[in-house]
Each structure stands twice: as C-alpha cells, then as structure tokens.
Symmetry: C2
Subunit: 473 residues, 2 copies
C-alpha cells in the first residue's frame, strides 16, 4: 500500500477535491459543506450495484472473499498495524501514502457482549452491545483518531488540536503523544467530566478552557487553523469517520458476516452515526454483506436537535442550548447532522429522545450485566425500550447497542446515582411506578459498618437476606 | 475438556488436597499456608526436566508446537471463550469441569507497547510495556477474576466476596454480574480511589466500608466465609493466580516466543508477581520457552514490606503500616509475599522501592508516550531507573514493564499532579535537579482564556512558542 488513492467530496454540493488541496478547516469553499472520503472503487461500486451487477465482480474492486480471509489472517499477526482492529481493515480506507505511517495504540477489537437481561427488560429476544469504551483511551473516538492523526503525522504536521467535551480530547492527546506531536485541547469552561480532562493532561496535551460553549470553541478553533499550521482533529475532519466506520466491519465479522436488523447509536455530534452508516453501506456495496441494518439515533431530551428535526414536518434543523448529564452527547449544534440524517433516511432508522432518569436507569441496567458504560452510552438501551414500544423494533429482530464510552469516564455520575444524589426531585418524579421499582432495586449505596464480624453478619442477614440454608452445589 | 484434572498444594508444607476438600478461606489447615494449583503434568514436567529429558517428549504432556498452533488458531475464532486472552490458554489451567462454564468479558489480549522515550530516560535501548489496564474493568485483576469466578459459578455458589482496595472489587463485581451471582465488596473506610468504588456499585455489588484497614477487612472476611456459603475471591484464592499467569503467555507470544530479560512488576499484595513467575516457569518446564526472564518487584517507599525483607540480612518479613498515593499497592501485610519472594529468588530478580515524587514523575513520563496508567503501575518505570543505575539491568537487555491499571482508575491523581497539588513540599524537595526539570516540563495545568481568537493566539505565541514559520511538509 504505497499510494493513497482517495479524494474528498463535499456531502452538500458534491464537489470533489484532492486531499492536498483541502482547506484547514475541512469545509467546502463553495457551500461550507462537510467532506467525505471517496475512493476509486466508490463510484464503480455504486454504478455496478445500481446496474444489478454483483459488487466485487469488477477486477478493480476488492474481492469480498479475499478481504474476509485477509482480515482474519491478520488477527494472528504480531505486527502492530495488523493487531489494530481499525488498521486490520485498512484496505477499505487507503488514506495513507504508506500504511507504515499508521499511529496505533492497538485500538478496536472491542467485545460484542450479549445482554440477555437487558433484552428481557426491553422486550426483545436477543440484544448485543458493541462496547467501544474498551478502546485504549476508553471511548470510540480512538477508532477515528488513529486514522486522522496518522494523516496529520504523514503530512508532517507538528501540532494538532480539537475542541472537545472530553472523549475526543483524550483520544487526540494520546495518539499525538504516541506520534511525538504536540496537541492542544479546547474545552468549554466548567461542566466537564474531570476524568476526561485528566486524560488529555496525562498524555501531555495543553488544555485551554475557553469561556464559551462547545460551539464557541469550534468557531475559535476554525479561526486558529487558518492562521497557524495546526491540524484540525474535530469530527469535521473526514478521516476521523474513515476509522470510525470500522466497528461496522467488526460487528458483522463477529457475527460470522450476518447482519443484525438494528444498530442503536447515541446521538451527539452525530459523526459516529454517519461513520457507521458509511461503513455498513460500503460493506453492502462491495458485496461483503447481503443488506444493510437500520441505524437509529437516540438523543438526550436536553440535547435533542436531531430528534426535533426528525419530528418536524418541515424537516428544519434548529440548534438548541444543550443540557444533559450525559456530557459526551451534550451538543446543541451537531456538525454532522446532515450526514446522520441521510443515514437514518437511507437505511430506514428512527430517532428518539430519552429523559435523564431513563438514561440513569438504563446505565444501571447495563452495569448490572457486568458491562460498565458512560451515561451517553446508556441512551441506547433507554431508546431501544421506546423503539420496541413504538413497534419500530420487534421482538424477533436482533439489535446492537453501540456503547461509546467506559464507565470510568464519568465515575462521579455513578457515585451520585447510587447515593441517590443524581436526579432532581422533578426528574425522579417522571419515572413510572415500574421505573421507580427498578431504580430502587438497582441502587447500591455503600454501607459503613464497624469492623466486627457479628455486626457484618447481622447486617447481611437483615439487609441482604443471605440465608444459611443456601448451600453450594 | 470435561474433566478438571488438578489439585491444590500448600506452598508452605507441600500437603496436597482435592479441590472439593479445600476450606473456605483457602488456607492449609496444617500450617496456614497458601495453596497453588498443580496439574498431573506438573510433577511429570519437573522430573523430566530435572532428569535432563526435553520437556514435552512425554506423551502425557501438552506438546509445545501443538499448543502454539492451537493458541494462534483460536485468535481467529468467534467463540467468546477463544476470544478471551485468558481462556485462549485454558490448556495450561484446566480448572473447570467444563470449559463452557467460563465467565468471560473478553479479558486479556492486552497491548504490548514500545516505550522508546521512557527507554531513553531509563538508559536502556528497548523497553516494552504490557498494559494490563486495557482489560475490561481497567486492571489486571480481570485475568485472575475470570478464572476464579468461573470456578465459583461452576461449583454453584450464589454469593461471592472480597476485601479490596479497589481494582479487585471492580473486577469481582463485573464478573459476578456477568454470571448472575451476587457480590459483596469489603473496603477500608476512607482513602479510597472513588473511581474504583464507583465501578463495583455500577456492576451491582453491595459495598461495605469497614472501619479498619485492608488487613482488618481480610480478617473479617475470613470469618464470614466460614459461617456463610460465600465464595472468597481475594488473591489467597489460588485460581486467581491461574488466570493471572496468562499475561506471561501473551508476552512471549507477542514477541514470537522470544523471552525478554526482565519483567518489572509493581508489588502490593504480591500475587501478581507470583502468578507471572508461575506462568513463565510453567512455559519453561513445558518447553515453550528456552529460559525464564528475571522478575523484579518494585514497591512504594510507604508500603515496602517486601523491600525490607529483601535487604534484611536475616530475611524476616515484618508487616508495615502502608501509606502511599498509589492506592492499588497500599498494602502493608501482603498475603502472597512468600510466593513472590520465591519467584524473585528462583528467577533471579531484584526488589526496589521508589518515592512518591519518583512515582508521579514516572507516571507522567509514561503518559507522555500516549500510554495512560494508574500511579501503582508507574512504580515499574521509577524502579527500572534504579535497577539500571545499580547495574541490575544493562543497556542491551530487554525489559517489560507490567502496567497494572488504566489512567482512568485514578483521575484525581493526574489532576492534582498537573495542578501541582499532589506532592507535599517535603516530597517535592526530594527531587534531584534533573527530576525537577523533568517535572516542570511535564506538568500541563489547564489554562482558562476568554473566547477570543486573538487572546488565544497571543497565549499560544507567548507560552507555547508556536512559530508561524513551522510549516507542514
């Protein structure tokens, strides 16, 4: 792989541009639209699929069987680039002139967990969770950052930067450090999950808190990259999405190339939904899967611009002032909303919103299956319950929740929940009687006891119903 | 694998006992010693190696080539038990009657990172880090917990418990939840990394804070398991060590079956050093590697009982009152000290202690390579510097640091460090002039600025020496 056969195409006006000619803030000069990466085989695939030819029959296209075999073989390799669950699929995103320039922390290869108890709660037979929080820095952002940071390194940039509510900054700082580049993180002052800020500091980034919100940070960063040779690593960078499409490849590979009916994704800046949609679509176009899954996006009630667009008969996007404890999706003006909206429409998904108490309950229910996630990830289960109630997901259909971050990303949220200090009285009052019962059963506040076996035993007997008659088999 | 061909042998008096007959606190009734798991091939291997026969030539023994091939093949499997980086090696720890009873979160398969800049700092040519913090709950404890919890589940226990400073409780709670068992965590009140406590709550454990220290928690738990059918999951449980030996297998497999000269391990309860030693020793006995590495143990100055034993000409173990910010190794009376001491002696390692400021510096240096770890993990690099200075590790020798926990395990430590609020004046004053310079270069406290591009640009120019002349290639 010594070429980099790709172009950038504006997703709004369709104008194509060579990668070297793109401007520093990755916006189309004609229409201000976002770019997507296209490859020589993209148009060939589209026309052959449209014409009814089986994709993969053209010799210019990657052969599906050969790709499957190659990707499986790489899992036994000791090369870093093959051990990466992102770069293992590099044949479908040849964005580097030389693949050896890839900057990797062995991201990807994340587990696909069965969640039988959550399935029962949601009212379906089979539920899986793709846990992207198991990436090196604890969130799905690593899959995109390894791709875009590698481009920055290959192009010779010494500085990289992003505006981020947390997970993006952690990922950028880690990969920049890995490559020996210097990184700057812009974050809105206050309302930060400190666990995420701590990471960017740990990886050596300079953190600048700006007295504005996320969108204000983005605007200032847009100005900076025009005036300094700093490589922009926010999700407007189309290379991020190329890495972020690989979890789609992993999901179907982990299911022996079967396609689940539904993918449920948390909706914040919406690049993740767009990337997964691009991934599944390309797999289908290349003949690697027989059909695409539906992709549904779930937002928090307090940060729901896509949901409002979705239910608006005029389909107008109006930014909102974002407010939710699920900090990773607290975004009122999502950069990639058009891409995500297209994916929902093209693949036939749905959009829902969920409340703060529904998010907290869903997070505890996922945790009780031994799978820890950050609050934003839990909107998926909360949303799935609504999709099932609406008949958008039926009992027999297979759904995959995309868990985007690790539970350690926001420990304080968990602590506050179990101490019953998370929700306001008004939020808690929104819970149905069933939800109230579920909350009460899941909350496990720490108990403080004297260091006396008898005291402990009495407490166990009283509070936990540990019966002496319970004997192991 | 429908049998469970193993016994438990007391590491003190050598008495053997069937697994079903062991008492509830895993102590030898004759001498109070700890058990280790032994297999039919253990003694065969030892006698054949002692007699000069090549291990593996006896038909009762696993064949080295076949094992290597089998373990590699499993990496391409879609079965959960094969995807686990622990159970993939189950042939060398047949502790279950039926391997399908394994309770797994896809632990193991952790990255082996090169740390070129840390190597230069330490004064050696090649340094690797095996990052066990990339396990599902963020620490190496998962590798042992998947093994021991599976035994508990197979034997029909409904309750499991441990006394833990944090990482063990998180791991136990997650695996218990996965298996549908109920878990109780005993922790000393106060001096807790809340990020770790949050996890056990998230996974549904009942957390009991006892008004005593870690050793006091252990004593009370020892009483409880005698009076209730609760399965004890502290590291005295010998099955924990069977899972924890698998990172040794992963390391040499990742190095194409080459053996590094030195393994550097943080020393807390010391079960990890013992387990890794057992793993490398068994690989050698079975003919899978040509020789064993040295295993050196590094302790914090404030929790250094093994170090005191090591430098004591009479070799007497005296418990200490533990005090260090590296909470994962804040243990004054380590349960597995005899096992670890034997490993150091048998494999030819060393023991060192490092100060609080040395730990903080090493953690920031590892972070600056894009690899985040918890403070306890960083004692390895701090200790390596001393081992190099002492001539115990030479420039040409290959060393592997065992990083035991993820940086997200203790975010507050990182935040305090970068705000220069971590170390006391007395601790900071212990730094050499070189160390002081290194601290100053690594600290990156967040900057707060007005949301104005000109203000930001001025700040970048003033503070960060971003030159407009820097142009990308």
């Amino acid at each position: 792989m010594n070429a980099s056969p790709h172009n950038l195409r504006c997703t709004e006006c369709g104008a194509c541009i060579a990668p070297e000619a793109v401007n520093s803030n990755f916006r189309c000069p004609a229409c201000n639209g976002l770019y997507e990466v296209v490859y020589p085989w993209s148009s060939v695939v589209r026309s052959s699929v449209t014409a009814g030819h089986p994709a993969g029959s053209d010799s210019n296209l990657p052969n599906p069987s050969a790709l499957r075999w190659l990707w499986q073989e790489r899992r036994t390799s000791t090369l870093a680039i093959d051990q990466s669950g992102v770069w293992r699929f590099r044949d479908l995103f040849p964005i580097l002139k030389n693949a050896e320039n890839a900057v990797t922390l062995r991201e990807g290869n994340t587990p696909l967990y069965e969640l039988p108890r959550c399935a029962e709660i949601a009212g379906i037979d089979w539920l899986l969770a793709k846990h992207q929080g198991m990436n090196p820095t604890g969130s799905f952002k690593d899959t995109g950052m390894t791709a875009a940071l590698s481009v920055a390194a290959e192009r010779g940039f010494q500085w990289v930067a992003c505006a981020s509510t947390g997970n993006t900054s952690a990922a950028m700082a880690a990969y920049a450090a890995r490559a020996g580049l210097r990184s700057i993180v812009f974050i809105p002052e206050g309302k930060i999950a400190w666990g995420k800020l701590s990471q960017s500091m740990d990886y050596g980034a300079l953190t600048i808190q700006l007295k504005t919100d996320f969108d204000g940070c983005m605007n200032i960063l847009g100005e900076l990259v025009k005036r300094f040779p700093i490589y922009l690593l926010n999700s407007v960078n189309p290379y991020r999405l190329e890495g972020q499409k690989t979890p789609a490849f992993e999901i179907v590979e982990q299911l022996d190339w079967q396609v689940p009916e539904h993918i449920i994704v948390p909706g914040g800046n919406l690049a993740n939904s767009a990337a997964l949609g691009k991934g599944f679509t390309e797999l289908h176009q290349l003949g690697l899967i027989s059909h695409t899954p539906k992709i549904s996006v779930i937002q928090a009630e307090g940060a729901n611009p896509l949901y409002r667009w979705f239910i608006d008969s005029n389909r107008v996007m109006r930014p909102v002032t974002a407010d939710t404890r699920a900090t990773a999706i607290r975004i009122g003006n999502p950069a990639s909303w058009r891409k995500a909206a297209s994916i929902i429409d093209e693949l036939g998904g749905w959009c829902e919103q969920v409340s703060e108490q529904e998010i907290a309950l869903a997070k505890a229910q996922i945790g009780a299956e031994g799978v820890g996630c950050e609050p934003a990830s839990a909107v998926t289960l909360a949303g799935l319950k609504k999709l099932v109630a609406l008949g958008k997901v039926t009992r027999e259909e297979r759904a995959v929740l995309i868990l985007t971050g690790h539970t350690l990303k926001d420990s304080q949220y968990t602590i506050d929940y179990h101490r019953n200090e998370l929700l306001t009285a008004a939020e808690a009052a929104q819970a149905t009687p069933l939800q109230q019962t579920q909350h009460a059963a899941l909350r496990k506040p720490p108990v403080v006891l004297d260091a006396d076996p008898d005291v402990v035993l009495r407490t166990l007997e009283e509070h936990m119903n540990v019966s002496k008659s319970v004997q192991p088999a």
